[in-house]
């Protein structure tokens, strides 16, 4: 155990080498896994559509009418306008949450850190609750008031936490964690207070509660475009910071000695994590567990180096949430189940099993 840091340090130094073939293989397998789960999720849903119809429908959609429709007109609307945006949304949210989890776990060196660790959950819940309270309906590039305000609330809370934790040009990890916890708790209880005090919200209590449990809600491709424009570059940005993340896992002083600009890289990581979490909240509300456990599951399999961990965790998170959302849509049709319940019920036991199976000590 004692020489492990030394070994890792030499690995961190050597990580600037080219990507290894093994990594390419792992990523290829995970891309395949995500592809399969996307196909699976597109093929099933609350409404049963025949697989061959779906294929012909898609060919017609892409290449112009080649086949006589053997399906009802509404089947095309169900598939192209309702199911596909939802599946794509689940993949985007899953990738965003898992990447944000990797970033925050690496930054905070804390296995319990998740995308909501820096106050986002409380801020987003408060913003979302205010969205339920608003007397207006508006649409912002396809988003209704609840996701827009949840996004704003989450980012505002995260900025507040960073601002509070910063002193003398530094934002110590422990202070960040504690400030995040306190801000999240204050805002979370502010939501409870709102729910109790406001007559309008009382009527809507089950709805607000359901929203707080999380659920992918994508009604327009424009929403997806906006989210992807945030998530894609943010994951890439995180990957470019992989050496800093590897170095930070040794502690901030060691990272400094390795020549990492610790404070500015930390700030960058927080910004990227915020963008990822904000995009996820806008599309899916507060979906728990994915951002916590997808990085861990991936780390058990591919190891702790961020160059591979980050893209691999993004793929695992995307595949997992696509399947969880499929269950949310199709388990009890026509009823929708909040996907947060399923991520915990399905992901939790799997993670515990993996943790038990792994005999050696598990570390970040």
């Amino acid at each position: 155990m004692t020489d492990a840091p030394a070994k890792e340090r030499s690995e961190a130094a050597g990580a600037r080498n080219a990507v290894r073939p093994a990594s390419v293989l792992v990523l290829a397998v995970l891309v395949l896994l995500l592809g399969c789960s996307l196909l699976f999720a597109a093929a099933f849903g609350a409404v049963q559509l025949r697989a061959d119809d779906l294929l012909r429908m898609t060919v017609n959609h892409l290449l112009g009418p080649r086949f006589e429709p053997t399906w009802r007109p509404q089947d095309e609307a169900i598939f192209f306008s309702i199911r596909l945006p939802r599946v794509a949304g689940a993949a985007t949210v899953g990738a965003a949450l898992a990447s944000a989890g990797v970033l925050f776990q690496g930054l905070l060196r804390n296995p319990l850190a998740d995308p909501y660790a820096l106050g986002v959950s409380g801020g987003a819940a408060l913003g979302g609750a205010l969205g339920f309270l608003l007397s207006v309906s508006f649409s912002f590039v396809g988003f209704s008031p609840v996701p827009v305000l949840a996004f704003g609330g989450g980012l505002a809370a995260m900025s507040l936490v960073y601002g509070l934790a910063r002193s003398g040009g530094r934002a110590p990890t422990v202070t960040l964690l504690l400030a995040g916890f306190a801000v999240s708790a204050i805002m979370g209880y502010a939501v409870s207070f709102l729910l109790i005090m406001n007559d309008r919200l009382q009527i809507n209590l089950p709805r607000v509660y359901g929203w707080l449990l999380g659920g992918i809600s994508v009604t327009q491709w424009s929403q997806l475009a906006v989210a992807l424009a945030m998530v894609g570059p943010a994951i890439l940005g995180g990957w470019l910071l992989r050496h800093s993340l590897d170095a930070l896992s040794l502690g901030e002083e060691s990272a400094q000695q390795l020549g990492i600009a610790v404070e500015s890289d930390k700030r960058l990581i927080i910004v990227l994590g915020s963008v990822l979490t904000g995009a996820a909240v806008a599309l899916g509300g507060l979906i728990g567990f994915v951002g916590l456990f997808a990085p861990h599951v991936t780390r058990v399999v591919v190891g702790p180096r961020h160059g591979l961990l980050l893209p691999a965790a993004a793929l695992v998170g995307a595949a997992f949430l696509v399947l969880a959302d499929l269950l949310a849509r199709a388990l009890l049709p026509p009823t929708e189940i909040p996907v947060g319940i399923l991520t915990a019920f399905v992901g939790g036991p799997f993670f515990l099993w993996l943790l038990r199976r792994e005999r050696r000590e598990y570390r970040l």
Binding site: A46, S135, T219
Partner: protein, 348 residues
Amino acid sequence: MLLFSRRQIALSALATFALLLPTGVPVASAQPSGAAFPLSITDDDGVTSTFAAAPQRVVSLNPGLTEITFALGAGHRLVAVDTFSDYPPEASTIQPRLATYPGPSVETIVGLKPDVVLSLAERTDDLAQIRRQGIPVLKLFPRDFDAAVQTIGTLGRLYGTPDAAQAIVADMLARRDAVTAAVADAPRPRVLEELDASEPDKPFVAGPNGFYGQLIDLAGGTNIFDDLPGDVGQVGAEAIVERDPEIIILTDADLPFNPQTPEMVAARPGWDGITAVQSGAIYAVQASLYSSPGPRLIDGLEALARLLHPDRFPAPAAAQTVHGRVRALTARGVPRGADRTPPRGLPR
């Protein structure tokens, strides 16, 4: 007469029977009201309370029970209501107004020294605590139209105004029967009743039970979500498009949060193929007529029946020229207040 389905006959019979059933005290209007006391009433929790005289100080914890109290001419006896009681308009001036979530203030209620507390769904513990102070509590939780009608009868006996109750009950049942008779042989359109669409791709909708679902049934519609397990459920847009409603009813048009308009519903992605969207049969209605267990349920039923079956309920002016049965309906007030254009932009 084949215009009635067996089920409707059974329902009417049940309602009439149920009115007479609970205490054995007949609701017959001939009986002088003073002779009814002492009066024992068993509430929907199975708790029996005995009243020596008609209560003069009443606390109502539900807008429906408040509404019934006013309809029975006993509004002046209310010494406190819940924060949602805003109909009739006089109800909104009553002080104090008690918040009912997470629970009513037992201290405040006991301090008011009421003769009775009317509750719909408060916690058993809170109600037991009030009862221990010697204050009778009636938990009246009607879950469908007939139970709401029965509750009006019960409160009529409680207030010593059985004649007023009988008049309302008879009116509601007669108008209900008129609606079911008018739509009995009409084709039953597929209906989606949307209750909340804060997430427009998975709205909350009316299930088979409760007032929402039952009124669709009575108004001669087929609820496309009559397979949900409860009164209300959250469903995916896939299932809505699949089940292709012919009529969409929006009770979330006058909500204070995320109110929906027919235009917004029509613009939802993938909904353009739905029959109701193509024919423009998306109607905003006044939510309180469909959710509050009170005398206005019948107004909701009539308005809904007119939207589902406009041909069966001609506008009042046209009613002069059609045959006797429909004219009789008109005289009873079936078309009252409702016309074929959906009420949009309701005041909040």
